[in-house]
């Protein structure tokens, strides 16, 4: 599903965020990326989302070489990827329902389909009763569930999550991880960046530890 070969990312101040990283993530795999702050987890996710380009090396997702994508191809690629961030990134003036439906709305999906799929996915994350609430009226865990629903609504083949439990307490973190496990059980590849080793231990999936942009451990 994901292959990187000798991937490096050098920032303008001369610091390598990733250095000579070669790894393979299988289709349908659930993988943790871990390491301390500045290890390169978020940089790798940014490259996987094609928000940035590598300085050296190649990165391929589902057969697409991300280095060479045109602007239109980037748009098309991103429609196959769902993303979840630590800070949720919900649109504050939109209700829960509107936040989730927004993805399909801006992709030109028919209104009836938007409504049906949004309701289904909100029901799946257990928030159908809060669909008219604004993000500010929700708890952190609920907001992250909305973000997960938004990531899922477009049936992505890959979910990227950057510290999705960073703002949540341990119990809520496990709830969120269970959602990711269920998503993964449906065949979607899931890559979660987290520095929470206890959470990784409790979930029990393959974890790649990065340090200064290099792989130091695969467990």
């Amino acid at each position: 599903m994901i292959e990187t070969h000798h991937l490096s990312k050098l920032y303008s101040r001369g610091v390598y965020a990733l250095r000579d990283l070669s790894l393979t993530i299988d289709k349908g795999e659930f993988l943790f990326l871990t390491g301390s702050s500045g290890a390169g987890k978020s940089t790798l996710l940014r490259l996987l989302l094609r928000e940035d380009r590598p300085t050296e090396g190649t990165i391929t997702v589902a057969g697409r070489p991300l280095n060479d994508l045109s602007r239109d191809q980037v748009q098309s690629y991103r429609r196959t990827v769902g993303f979840v961030f630590q800070d949720f990134r919900l649109i504050r003036r939109f209700t829960v329902f509107q936040n989730v439906a927004f993805v399909m709305r801006v992709l030109g999906v028919a209104v009836a389909v938007q409504q049906r799929k949004t309701f289904q996915v909100l029901k799946w994350v257990g928030l159908q009763h809060r669909m008219n609430a604004l993000p500010d009226d929700l708890s952190g865990g609920e907001q992250q569930r909305v973000a997960i629903a938004r990531a899922l609504v477009n049936d992505p083949q890959l979910i990227l999550a950057d510290e999705p439990t960073g703002n949540l307490d341990p119990d809520l973190s496990l709830d969120i991880m269970n959602l990711f496990r269920e998503i993964n059980a449906g065949g979607t590849t899931v890559v979660v960046a987290t520095h929470d080793r206890e959470l990784i231990r409790r979930v029990g999936r393959r974890a790649i530890t990065l340090d200064h942009g290099r792989v130091v451990e695969v467990a």
Binding site: R78, F83, V106, L107, G108
Partner: protein, 295 residues
């Protein structure tokens, strides 16, 4: 179609949320197009005035008293209708005297005391309206002047030329002023749309991350500019029409009659449409400038 609908819905919503700054840019466009429309109104009526005056323009060809029938034949061949000439009339010496007495009744008695009729015979030539193909008329005048039996040719176009050049100057000044104001309006729209864009940064970020097409990302901002431009242009036209109606009876009608113009007219429907389309284009340009590079 969905993209246009989306852009329209979002633009209307954004205009409503940012109505105070939106009003500012619409007012700027309205002022620019009001000035431009005012100049267009003036020049379109001055164009009609010069056309009507051109239609009334005549050439007077005065003949020597001893003109021979053959000379007159040559002159009449030059004046044959077609080309610059619409029609001509021969005014004999006797007819000229009769008209003089009719026109200047006070001097009629004096004229009778003269031994000879001093007034020359002439041709009064009416020109075709399109004959302001000036070269054609000038060529004809030159040929008439060179003809045997012709003592003088009067073709006083100076006043008409002055009017035409004044119309040209007014048009150029209006266009220049309109262009400057329009650029200012486009910049105002760009800044107002940019404010709206900054206020929706979170939405734009999500749109980019989910791979929304550019038409969905930029469309609402371009549409917002188009709406601002269109509304501003309609406001300008409404204001111009109100001013025209308010002053027509009291000032414009007497002015028209003073300068021998049949009537002073408002802008043609085509010009009105052009102004609205122009306003929308200016707004569109502002929207594109604001959206480009930020989305």
């Amino acid at each position: 179609m969905r993209a246009i609908r989306y852009a329209f819905d979002e633009a209307v919503g954004s205009l409503w949320r940012g109505r105070q700054s939106g009003l500012l840019s619409m007012a700027t466009i309205a002022v620019a197009l009001f000035v431009l429309g005012g100049f267009l109104l003036a020049t379109s009526n001055l164009d009609r005035l010069s056309l009507e005056w051109s239609r009334a323009a005549e050439i007077s060809v005065y003949l020597h008293d001893d003109v021979t029938p053959a000379d007159r034949g040559d002159v009449e061949r030059l004046l044959a209708p077609g080309g610059a000439v619409a029609a001509y009339e021969f005014v004999s010496k006797e007819e000229a005297l009769r008209r003089f007495k009719l026109m200047f009744a006070d001097l009629a008695a004096t004229a009778d005391t003269l031994d000879d009729n001093p007034l020359p015979a002439s041709y009064e030539v009416r020109l075709r309206p399109s004959a302001d193909a000036q070269g054609q008329v000038d060529g004809l005048v030159d040929k008439l002047r060179a003809s045997a039996g012709v003592s003088d040719v009067r073709y006083d176009r100076e006043w008409l030329d002055r009017l035409l050049s004044a119309v040209g100057i007014i048009r150029r000044v209006g266009l220049a002023l309109g262009a400057v104001l329009t650029i200012a309006a486009a910049l105002t729209v760009a800044n107002v749309v940019r404010l709206a864009l900054d206020g929706r940064r979170d939405e734009l970020e999500i749109m980019q991350l989910v791979g929304a097409p550019r038409s969905y990302i930029r469309g609402p901002f371009v549409m917002e500019g188009v709406l601002q431009g269109g509304i501003g242009a309609l406001a300008a036209l409404t204001l111009l029409a109100a001013l025209f109606l308010a002053t027509r009876a009291r000032y414009l009608a007497p002015l028209a009659s003073a300068v021998n113009l049949s009537s002073i007219r408002f802008l043609s429907p085509e010009l009105c449409l052009m102004l609205v389309a122009g306003g929308m284009m200016v707004g569109c340009l502002g929207g594109i400038v604001a959206a480009t590079g930020r989305t």
